[in-house]
């Protein structure tokens, strides 16, 4: 045994004897065996798997953190309650007594008049869709950034920002009436595929069955829901030519100066169409067409269309197609150019633009109206036989769309009884 310490003390021999006892009792550690090796290898395998699992879990957590943050920060969907009524599983509102109200958590309120029926759908963080099945409703939408509200009445879509208006849809007479009290809306649908802007204190009445469009100033909503003949709007001769649609159009806009930094998109959303056009004129329309941003061009095109400045709208739409040929706006500009051409009676040109739009964007936003307008124009120009193929395609793709009755009529007239049923 080696020297224990530098200074041996009494009892060293006794301790040395104890150390010797330990050495004798445990002379070696015994032989390693195969079983021990196998257990060691299994343990190492488990340890490695645990490490990998922990690393994977950590990686997953790190990767998921931004997503969780986004989900956490994402605003919650709006909620709504129905007063004097009940709401079904699909969002349909069942009035229990007169004065049924749909009140949303952001303050937006829809009041259903009389026996009006509605449905709430696609409730999101910044808006929802109100389907006016039949009857009249008084609406008050709270203006908010990113607000996306829509009122759907039959085949019509009323796009809303911050607005107070009354809307009525007669399912029996296929008539839409919109009375604006505040703000602005854009209505799209049959006869107004490109959209028509309705400003403050204006009344828009649409009846596609007899091609009637009325846009008038200062008409207050009637106390009762308008009938097909007894509405407050003045009678307009049926099937008025498209070029006469703007006869009574006189948008009224506030003369107050706008902040120069307000974007055209924002002004457009606020219904200030004239301000957009005035801004473009101040800057120089030619300069805007040559150097304006894509958003500015889109806003100017919309403002020009909504205020029926067809020539300006055409120039802007063509500039969009030239300068941003791969953009959605450029493709949609093709459709709007078709609408403008059709409004001016240039049917062949309109058909060319519709065909181009359908080719460029077969599943685009305006695919259905482009095809619908095509079949109507073809039938007018060359008869039902020429429109039959388009009518069949329309029924196959959009069997419940606004042009479905016209398509069925064409198919029926040509003796094609095999058209798809809605």
């Amino acid at each position: 045994m080696k020297g224990q310490a530098e200074e041996p003390v009494p009892g060293d021999e006794r301790l040395a004897a104890m150390v010797q006892l330990v050495q004798q009792t445990f002379p070696d550690g015994g032989r390693s065996d195969e079983g021990g090796l196998r257990r060691l290898q299994q343990r190492m395998w488990r340890a490695r798997r645990r490490r990998r699992l922990a690393a994977g879990t950590l990686g997953l957590l790190v990767a998921a953190a931004p997503l969780a943050l986004v989900l956490f920060l994402r605003p919650a969907p709006l909620t709504f309650e129905v007063i004097h009524g009940a709401v079904g599983a699909a969002g349909e509102v069942r009035p229990s007594e007169p004065g049924t109200r749909i009140r949303f958590s952001d303050g937006t309120e829809i009041v259903l008049e009389g026996a009006a029926r509605a449905q709430v759908r696609d409730v999101a963080a910044h808006g929802a869709g109100i389907v006016l099945v039949d009857g009249r409703a008084h609406t008050s939408f709270v203006p908010k950034p990113k607000a996306r509200w829509q009122v759907l009445a039959g085949p019509y879509v009323v796009r809303v920002t911050g607005t107070v208006f009354d809307v009525a849809w007669s399912r029996d007479h296929q008539q839409l009436d919109v009375w604006l009290k505040k703000g602005s809306v854009v209505v799209t649908g049959p006869l107004v595929e490109g959209g028509v802007g309705v400003g403050r204190d204006q009344h828009l009445s649409l009846r596609p069955t007899d091609h009637r469009i009325v846009l008038e100033n200062g008409a207050a909503p009637p106390a009762q829901s308008p009938g097909p003949e007894g509405q407050a709007a003045p009678a307009v001769p049926p099937a008025a030519p498209a070029s006469e649609r703007t006869a009574d159009h006189a948008l009224e806009h506030a003369a107050a100066p706008r902040a120069p930094e307000a974007s055209w998109q924002r002004r457009l959303a606020a219904g200030d169409f004239d301000a957009v056009i005035a801004g473009a004129e101040r800057r120089g329309v030619r300069d805007v067409l040559a150097r304006g941003s894509r958003n500015d061009l889109a806003a100017l095109a919309d403002a020009a269309r909504y205020t029926r400045r067809a020539e300006l709208a055409r120039r802007v739409l063509l500039a969009e197609r030239t300068r941003f040929p791969d953009s959605t706006e450029a493709r949609e500009a093709g459709y709007f150019l078709g609408v403008l051409a059709e409004d001016e009676g240039a049917w062949r040109e309109a058909l060319t633009w519709y065909a181009r739009y359908r080719r460029e964007d077969p599943a685009g936003t305006y695919a259905a109206p482009a095809l619908g307008r095509t079949l109507v124009l073809e039938a007018r120009r060359q008869g039902n036989d020429a429109a039959c193929a388009d009518a069949q395609e329309y029924l196959r793709r959009f069997s419940t769309g606004p042009y479905a009755p016209a398509a069925r009529q064409i198919c029926h007239a040509t003796g094609d009884v095999s058209q798809p049923q809605p």
Binding site: M1, R14, A17, G29, S32, L37, M44
Partner: protein, 220 residues
Amino acid sequence: MKRTKVAPPENALSPIAYLPTAALPDADDEALVRGLRGGDPRSTREAWYRFGPTVRRLLLRALGPVAELEDLSQEVFITFFDRVRTLRDPRTVTAFIMSITAFKIRHHLRWRWVRRWIVPSGPTPPRDLRTVQSDSDSREALKRFFAALDRLGALDRTAFTLRFVEELELQQVADALGWSTATTKRRLNRSWKRLSALVRDDAALEPFLSDRGHGPEGTA
């Protein structure tokens, strides 16, 4: 013993793969470490057979025949296989695994000390010493001696075992514990004196020590 160098295969597999391959009994420590670093499963097996007895002997002498012996032994090897890549000089592999074992002993002693405070029932009782020692006086002496060792701190006890029971050189003990030579010498001296006093004062050791000719002080 003659040892030959064996290079690891080029397509070396994971060291945890269990394959019935031949060991490398003739490979020297350098070749063995190279094989371990290259992931040669034969090197894993050879390391287990070559260093296993040393590791277990050191654990036994430091802790006695405790129930956790096999677990501790395997933990030493798991750490060894994990860290063998950090070994700078492959010729010092034996000292390397001894230092890992010393670390595990310290860790186990500290964990046992903590458990004694947390769990009222105290530490796991040692295995029956009859399997390792047939003489009853010697068995009792061993129990008393391990009880005395328990009164040392984890570091001092480990140092004592390495130096006086395992008979490592002073420098090897210092390296294994990460101490300076002076500190190692000082602490060993202190441990020796303390254990000497404990053994001297323990009357229960008399039967065993008297048999060995180490009766009460002054009587030998």
